[in-house]
């Protein structure tokens, strides 16, 4: 074998060893041999946050008596839709079973059913109508889209670098006769 051919052969061999190593690592990893590290996606955190939120908000007593459920309404297409269902299933809020109700469009919302209403980014353009229909009812409005508070929304989850931040529009909260615990307010960015 000439030197050039030999070189070429060596090169090809190393090239495939490299490739083999890469594929090997991928295979091992995909077979789950590599140590699992709990990596948390934005969606998981947002879903759990939404579930947790209820513990830091008080609703007027009369309002809460209207239903045997504690209901989180979701309109639009939040990316964590399936997760929130999983988070809430089987949980209780002050003794009431929690449930999630999904609405495809803003028009479908039955406002008196929800205690918390999450508005997906795709439905935010209908937020004015939603507000009109809520008409001051103590329903906590939540979104995860920049600018939501300026539109008169109450709680906004915004990505801050690698963490989730909370923004609260206190005026909108007070107007609806809801109150948010100081513990949450300490963690939040307040817009008055």
């Amino acid at each position: 074998m000439s030197l050039a051919l030999q070189l070429q052969w060596c090169l090809r061999k190393t090239r495939f060893l490299c490739l083999a190593a890469f594929l090997g690592v991928l295979s091992l990893a995909s077979a789950g041999v590599a140590p699992a590290s709990p990596q948390t996606t934005e969606h998981h955190v947002k879903a759990v946050f939404l579930y947790n939120l209820a513990r830091f908000v008080s609703w007027p007593g009369l309002w809460m008596e209207r239903s045997e459920y504690f209901t989180i309404g979701i309109v639009g297409n939040p990316p964590f839709g399936a997760i929130i269902d999983q988070v809430v299933t089987g949980e209780r809020w002050r003794g009431k079973p929690m449930r999630v109700v999904f609405y495809d469009e803003a028009e479908d919302i039955s406002v008196r059913v929800c205690d918390v209403l999450y508005i997906g980014a795709d439905q935010l353009r209908h937020f004015d109508d939603i507000k009109e229909r809520l008409a001051g009812l103590p329903v906590l409005t939540v979104a995860d889209t920049p600018g939501f508070l300026a539109m008169g929304g109450m709680v906004n989850l915004v990505r801050k670098q690698q963490r989730i931040g909370v923004g609260v529009n206190l005026q909108a909260v007070r107007y609806s006769e809801l109150s948010i615990s100081s513990k949450l307010l300490r963690l939040a960015t307040i817009v008055d």
Binding site: G24, V25, P38, Q39, T40, V48, A150, K160, I164
Partner: protein, 681 residues
Amino acid sequence: MFHIYRRSRNPAFWISLFLLIVSFLLPVRGITETDENTLAYLKTLSIEELLELKVTSVSKRPETLFNAAAAITVITPEDIRRTGARTIPDILRLVPGIQVGQVDGSKWEIGARGFNDFFENKLLVLIDGRSLYTPLYSGIYWDRVDTILEDIERIEVIRGPGATVWGANAVNGVINIISKNSAETQGGLVQAMYGTREQPLAAARFGGRFGETTAYRFYVKGFKRDEMETASGADAHDALQSSRAGLRLDSSWKDSSLSFQSELYKGEADFTSLLSGFLTPPFFRRSEETEKFHGGHILTEYHHNLSKVSDVNVKLYYTGYTQDLVVVEEERDTFDFELQHHLKRWPDHQIVWGVGVRWTEDETEGTFSTTFTPASESTVLWSAFLQDDISVVENTLWCTVGSKFEHNDYSGFEIQPSIRLRYMPEKHHLLWAAISRAVRTPSRTEQDVTIHFASFQQGPTPVQLRLVGNDDFDSEELIAYEFGYRWQWTDSLSVDVATFYNDYGDLRGERQGRAFLETAPLPSHLVIPNTFVNNIEGESYGIEISAAWQVLEHLKLMAGYSWMDLNLEYSDRHQSNTLNSLNSEKNYPRHQFQIRGYYDMSPSLSLNGELYYVDEYESDTIGEYLRFDLQLLWEPLEALQLAVGGENLLSSGHKEAIPTGSGIVSSHIPPTYWLKATYRF
């Protein structure tokens, strides 16, 4: 593609391939279980702890994307961050069915479904809706297509025609680069990169707010890319340096939003030029040249919700640039206005219509080898479109019909209709089919150019081959038939298949004219003129498959494969065709294959690799090659990200493109290594 495996019977390769296949076949170990564990763990956290958690980005894949009746791929910020792609052309390698070949340090040949030659003209590229397509020759100056890569929201790549909405020249594909809203880029970012090519790259961005409604960012980026090598190991003289600075403002109110952006850039690209057509021996000249360019743009876009069922979008932009391409100088100003109205008044119809006008003026200065006549020209493009998305059977069958109507100064009226059907037999399955017509309208080159592209001695007189523009050159036409299937099997596994049959007519070829003797300039010489004519027709067909699998929370695998075939022939076979345009049109690989893996070794450390296989080009100019990129990302602090990466690791250097007819000498693409640090505050 298979003979490379046949050739190398390396056992390690087969073992790992076997391992890989086995691991794919293993039962998907508790995807939901992992999910549940994560959720159970998160639920135990206090709200402070929850808000302190570091989260990974999830690619936003809106439902509308799954529902698109087109071969569309979206590149997310996660893809860009993890692959460590240094340039936008490198990012496009991730899309199956897109062919990317780097010519030298600053030039690329990029095509969709074939036609990736240097003067590729069937692709539309936009940044935030601003067209980057040059009317001079209908191509893209890829070294000018840049921004801070961290500020890209997503890149939508549509293979196949998008002319009904995007207009002429969206023939074989549309690449839509969308930058982040300023609200998403708050705070500071400083980035530095140094490696075998970037020497160095530096970028900085700062974003803030004016009140609750307005967010802003401004940024600067600059780099110097070192030259590569030629096949013989000499310096390739293809260094590139470029700098840009820009700002963006975004305001949003109750019913409306306003966006404003502006940018200035300049740069210099070295290249080795091989110009021919001279009248005295040796008739060609090889020289080291430098092209210089600078330019900028202003864009403003306003969106208003008129009512619950209608919204309107208005966009206005100006771009201007000056460039000295050595063979020709070009100065261009473009103003563009577009209005779109979206109406959902009737429950089963989603109507979008729009109108637009684009005015562009250029001023060119020719050289011995290339001139435009007239030297300066201004043209106006008028356009209107109407599209209706009809729900035929609720939540099951939809039909989208529409057409673009355009008038341009070269080929007059153009109608580009399409009909697209999508059928969702059950949730998570989508079948789609489309028939569309698209045209590539004539450019300045085909109408007005004179190129002295080759010369030789024959007997006592030199002979010069000349390419001459033709005012009768008409649009190139495509009728495309597409069919696709998308399957979201679980949240973590999805498959996308697209097939196409493209029927091309009136493609650009050349026809030889009658030779004549020219006495000025001396020495007197025989000229053989060739003019551009629409004399090539043909068809192409192919398939593109991609799959993404979130195997575990810390491991994601993606694979893509594409195959295509293109057959072209002269529609005027009796004519003599000296230039052999057919061969340069066959600049594409038949097979392409890629596999990509994103692997998180710990919450702050990840290894990401991509392997690409590109078959030899049908034109035989480029041999098959493998390209392997690897990047290790480490986040020692939340605000600090360090990366070490390598590109093209398996090769000692290979050619990816031969820019036929451009007079540019291509370089060997070597392995590249780099270190990168990004700090956010």
